[in-house]
Subunit: 199 residues, 2 copies
DNA sequence: ACAGAAACAGAACGTTTGTTCTGCTACAAC
DNA sequence: GTTGTAGCAGAACAAACGTTCTGTTTCTGT
């Protein structure tokens, strides 16, 4: 009997994610969300307990709909450093493709903004970090297996270096370097890694 | 005749810098500033036009009193990659020494929080980036000169990679890795660089 | 066509924000 | 000790915040 809803919980989380991604948590007011999502306050509070819960949902959606599709290949059994390179390139391309240039990575942005003072968000970001590290380690191990010589490098430590570099890349992509520069940095960094693990 | 001031413009900027450093711009209210600096609202507005101007002053103070002392040696004529290593280690130690652990780097925090939507702040951060890149390039060139063989690497591109890594390091240091892990990452990264430029 | 359930738009709520104002107080000069 | 300048603490301000509420509209089931 009731009137049909003009949006779903998912479409709302998607719109909110995009807004939080580019403007951050504090930089996004409920009024901004009403305007950018096209959903009334009532509609938002019907689906989510408040702004914070909506943000957590946006973070979750980002994980499943942005990170996972891009990172799945790095987590695959046959992943190597070429796969990692493709992952970074894909992320750089994607920012333009979905019309969110200079937005970096929602997790990287969240790391410095609100995670330090919100334990739930902190854990979420920490888990993302662990995931990246595990994926990178997987790619490193596969890459090392393919090479002929013995591998003496501590791959787990190198995976951590890759995580640090990734964070820096996404932070830098928030308007401090053009795509070409970013791509070049990815190439140079991965070349260094390749040399390191075959030494 | 008038009563003596209980603070100077510099001591106020210093206190404000520490608060902004650990809590960010949006995460710091004027009330927080009054409490943490011990200066009344009147005193703050006497020295600064508003919260934003105080933040810019804090950013400037951070540049001169935190970055410059630490980075000066990297900018010196005799700097090499060991100097860069010492710079990173010093920054990691310093965070604990001045009782601001898990605060990362004020510039790195600012990059993602407010710089994207404030051109004056953006330029300030951009200038800091350029400075880092120039300093790292200086160290790379000196290091290359010392080695025997010919240097084919594009040092300017590697300097950019170093900037990206540095940003990632400071972001990660905001509570996502302990000091030992950070130190290890610095060592591993610089080892990779050393190999790269002597190839 | 009718009834009613629920989504809609937007007003209204109490807080908190950054900023300004007011009365009191402390201290150097005389 | 008296005086006067300018510091101080905190009240007061409008605006913006996240949240809640109210009245209207819309569409399904009968």
């Amino acid at each position: 009997m009731p009137r049909l809803r003009s949006h779903t919980k998912e479409s709302l989380a998607e719109s909110a994610m995009r807004r939080f991604w580019s403007h951050g948590f504090e930089g996004t007011s409920m009024d901004d969300l009403v305007k950018s999502t096209g959903v009334s306050r009532h509609g938002i509070y019907r689906d989510f307990a408040g702004k914070r819960e909506l943000f957590l949902a946006a973070l979750d959606r980002y994980k499943h709909h942005v990170v996972t599709p891009a990172f799945a290949q790095v987590e695959a059994d046959d992943a190597d450093l070429d796969t990692v390179a493709a992952f970074f390139e894909y992320q750089i391309d994607q920012a333009v493709a979905i019309d969110l240039p200079r937005s970096g990575c929602l997790f990287a942005n969240t790391m410095t903004e609100i995670a330090p003072h919100d334990s739930a968000v902190h854990e979420c970001v920490q888990a993302h970090h662990d995931r990246l590290r595990a994926g990178f380690l997987n790619a490193l191990q596969n890459n090392a297996c393919k090479s002929d010589g013995p591998v003496s490098a501590d791959l787990a430590a190198l995976a951590q270096v890759m995580v640090v570099f990734a964070q820096g890349l996404w932070t830098t992509s928030r308007g401090y370097a053009d795509d070409m520069t970013l791509r070049r940095s990815v190439t140079d960094f991965l070349d260094m890694l390749r040399v390191r693990i075959t030494l």
